[in-house]
């Protein structure tokens, strides 16, 4: 059965916010030094924009399409391998 969509009600499709590249807001940019990264996952857990991905092997990277440059990841990284640098646009 195909569910009927009510008229005059706004319905959005799941996850369509991904089209909105909030990385353009950035003033400071987090730069990750993978040689020091222990792949603890803390940056990924704490990013308010949910845009740090990785695993034990690849280690972790921010997705600059969405990263707003808040600096939370740099503050919580236990080995301090993330530095905030001025954005070059």
């Amino acid at each position: 059965m195909v569910a009927k969509r009510a008229k005059n009600i706004l319905i959005g499709n799941p996850g369509t916010s991904l089209a909105n590249k909030t990385g353009s807001w950035r003033v400071f940019m987090p730069v990750y030094d993978k040689t020091k990264c222990t792949a603890c996952g803390m940056c990924s857990m704490m990013c308010p924009d949910g845009c740090v991905h990785g695993d034990k092997i690849k280690k972790y990277d921010p997705d600059y399409d969405y990263c707003k440059g808040c600096g939370v990841c740099a503050k919580v990284c236990p080995v301090k391998c993330i530095t905030m640098k001025e954005e070059q646009k």
């Binding site: 799941p14 996850g15 916010s17 089209a19 990924s44 857990m45 308010p48 969405y66 939370v72 503050k75």
Partner: protein, 300 residues
């Protein structure tokens, strides 16, 4: 430690328009990582609703509905009743979600009714301690002496004159089987409490403190440290009440309240003169009484 996977990132997606460093955006993702996909969220008007649904886009990957500012509990009751009426009660659980303004003030009558009816809904209040989405007005959960646009610090007053309304205690008084507080600096604790809440049937209440760089006036990078200091100073104790009894309270190394107040511009008027210093002493007393009340042992 659970790290984000491709699967759970889809429950709450990037591209939302929360301010950089928003504690609430982090809380929303952590909550859904803990519940998994079988939930329906009813969301009152406020920052969470506005920044996740820049129409026609949505950051949600689960069924979600926006109610009014004041009727989120009634809508949640309806969704839960509809699931049961359709015989689909085991397909999803219902979460009602509102800010401190929506929860402690304007929507409170509806929430009290929902608790009295004993509906099977988890109510989450995200507490950013003011009406942030409309420009930082004072709510019943704004802290003592905090500056907001409707509790301005100036010649006549030194900020908000009231202490935070004790909603968890009011929830316990309604006979709720599960009441807890959490905050984003302790994601494992938050995850455990959400999971625990989802195991219980009936009305449950979870209040999550979420730092708001815009309204609190701290650096965007300090969201986690503010959340942690709120707990370590004793100003926002983390606890659980199960069947009306205090079940757990987080033990922390007690820090002076100044460490929490100083980095936030909403408290900067307290650091100017002797009158401000007097108020800081009162804030320290609030923290000390919280430590005593929740029998949180201060680890020195």
């Amino acid at each position: 430690m659970t790290t984000q996977t491709a699967e759970n990132v889809k429950l709450f997606n990037s591209g939302h328009t929360a301010c950089a460093g928003c504690g609430l955006a982090l809380a929303a993702r952590l909550v859904l990582q803990a519940t998994g996909p079988k939930v329906i969220v009813v969301n009152a008007t406020g920052c969470l609703e506005v920044f996740t649904t820049r129409s026609p886009q949505t950051a949600w990957g689960i069924p979600w509905i926006h109610s009014l500012f004041e009727n989120q509990a009634a809508v949640a009751t309806g969704v839960e009743a509809a699931l049961r009426a359709l015989g689909r009660g085991d397909e999803a659980r219902v979460i009602a979600w509102g800010g401190d303004g929506a929860s402690a003030d304007i929507g409170f009558g509806g929430i009290s009714g929902m608790w009295e009816r004993y509906d099977d809904v988890l109510y989450i209040c995200y507490d950013n301690e003011a009406y942030m989405n409309t420009g930082i007005q004072r709510s019943g959960l704004t802290p003592f002496k905090g500056h907001t646009s409707t509790s301005p610090a100036g010649k006549v007053s030194l900020g908000n004159m009231k202490q935070k309304k004790n909603i968890p205690a009011i929830a316990v008084a309604h006979g709720l089987p599960y009441v807890a507080t959490a905050t984003v600096a302790y994601p494992k604790d938050l995850e455990r409490k959400v999971k625990k809440a989802m195991e219980v049937r009936g009305p449950r209440y979870l209040q999550i403190l979420v730092p708001c760089p815009l309204g609190w006036g701290h650096a965007t990078s300090d969201t986690i440290s503010m959340s942690k200091l709120a707990v370590e100073t004793g100003l926002n104790p983390l606890f659980e009440y199960i069947d009306g009894k205090l079940a757990t309270a987080m033990t922390v190394k007690q820090k002076p309240v100044e460490e929490y107040l100083k980095p936030q511009s909403r408290f900067k008027h307290l650091f100017r003169d002797a009158a401000g210093a007097e108020q800081i002493k009162l804030i320290q007393e609030i923290a000390n009484s919280n430590f005593a009340k929740f029998k949180v042992e201060a680890v020195k």
